[in-house]
């Protein structure tokens, strides 16, 4: 590795495609479309998530999301946010595919599957998620599957055919970062044991740039986030920070960090010290 640029753009494979950016960003919660499009640009993301919702039939105001975004630039990943049972998640997945097929977007066969357990925590329902994942895989979807950070739940989703398992760092939109790094490491170990290129993306809970760095230092393949950028006081600046944080974490992980030691290890040589050293 001779230049940081070479390392920073090390591509990742996901669902049969290759991406230079490992940062996946949402399009929700922005104060306005101009801020959103500037933040998306600053993030460097190539995949952006969207939600499927009822068309506003009356009193429509302002431009729509699709008018604001250069859809030819991004792979659009529709989510099933707001679904609390597998049947609804499958319905919404198919609706999203129908829309993206009309647009000719490569995200048409992709879905970010969320089957939520309850409205307060927005934590995933593990059995409902697994059931929906199986149905969608059989229906030809590339399922990018939101999961809890439970290693066995994550393993079952991979076994069900998920194109990527995406464990939560902490609850959606909470900004608490990665609450259980040990579990993320176990997930990475389990899912990559005989399949080292299997993509694991940390999804949800990112509050600031260091959370992204930590995810990558643990060995994650990428990070998906929305609120951490959209609700920052300066979303565009934070999008830059997230992008650099991801590169920093990836480079650090690839570089092989030093082992932690109980005691100090001097960086300057002891040989030739002219001062009195206590105890010697």
């Amino acid at each position: 590795m001779t230049t940081t640029e070479t390392a920073a753009v090390e591509p990742m494979s996901l669902a049969g495609r290759t991406f230079n950016s490992r940062l996946f960003v949402g399009t929700g919660k922005y104060p306005d479309h101009a801020t959103m499009t500037a933040a998306l640009d600053a993030s460097g993301a190539e995949v952006i998530t969207v939600a499927v919702r009822r068309e506003r039939l009356y009193n429509e105001q302002g431009e729509s999301l699709l008018d604001a975004i250069d859809t030819s630039r991004y792979t659009i990943l529709p989510n099933t946010a707001g679904c609390f049972d597998p049947e609804d998640a499958v319905r919404v997945s198919r609706l999203g595919r129908e829309i993206l097929e009309q647009m000719g977007n490569p995200g048409a066969s992709w879905v970010k599957l969320e089957v939520l357990g309850d409205k307060k925590t927005l934590l995933p329902d593990p059995t409902g998620t697994l059931e929906a994942c199986k149905t969608l895989v059989a229906d030809g979807f590339q399922v990018l599957c939101y999961s809890s950070d439970d290693p066995i739940a994550a393993l079952r989703l991979k076994e069900a055919g998920a194109a990527s398992v995406m464990p939560a760092g902490s609850p959606i939109g909470s900004g608490q970062g990665i609450l259980n790094p040990a579990n993320i490491v176990l997930i990475l170990d389990l899912l990559k044991e005989h399949d080292p290129t299997y993509p694991v993306i940390v999804d949800a809970g990112v509050g600031t740039a260091s959370d992204v760095t930590l995810a990558m230092e643990l060995g994650a393949d990428g990070v998906l986030l929305n609120t951490g950028i959209a609700h920052a006081q300066d979303p565009v600046r934070m999008a830059h920070a997230m992008r650099h944080a991801l590169d920093a974490g990836l480079l650090a992980y690839r570089s092989g960090r030093i082992a932690k030691r109980k005691y100090a290890s001097a960086s300057s040589p002891w040989e030739g010290v002219i001062a009195h050293i206590p105890g010697e």
Binding site: T27, E55, R91, I99
Partner: protein
């Protein structure tokens, strides 16, 4: 006839197709998906699919989300 569109009742003439309904809402050129009674009706079928009294229709599009 009365149908439910995105949760609200609407009166329409008999024989209304999905394409007619989308046209009535100025959505003909907008990427959107349509369910009738929870079943997806794909765009190539919009002209031929005639809505019936009491049908529940969902017309959805993409919005910002995470």
């Amino acid at each position: 006839m009365q149908i439910i569109v995105n949760g609200a009742p609407e009166e329409h003439p008999d024989g209304l197709s999905i394409s007619d309904l989308l046209h009535a809402h100025n959505l003909s050129a907008v990427p959107c998906a349509v369910e009738v009674n929870k079943n997806l009706v794909r765009k190539p079928q919009h002209d031929e699919h005639t809505l019936q009294e009491g049908d529940t229709v969902e017309i959805v599009s993409l919005v910002g989300g995470g």
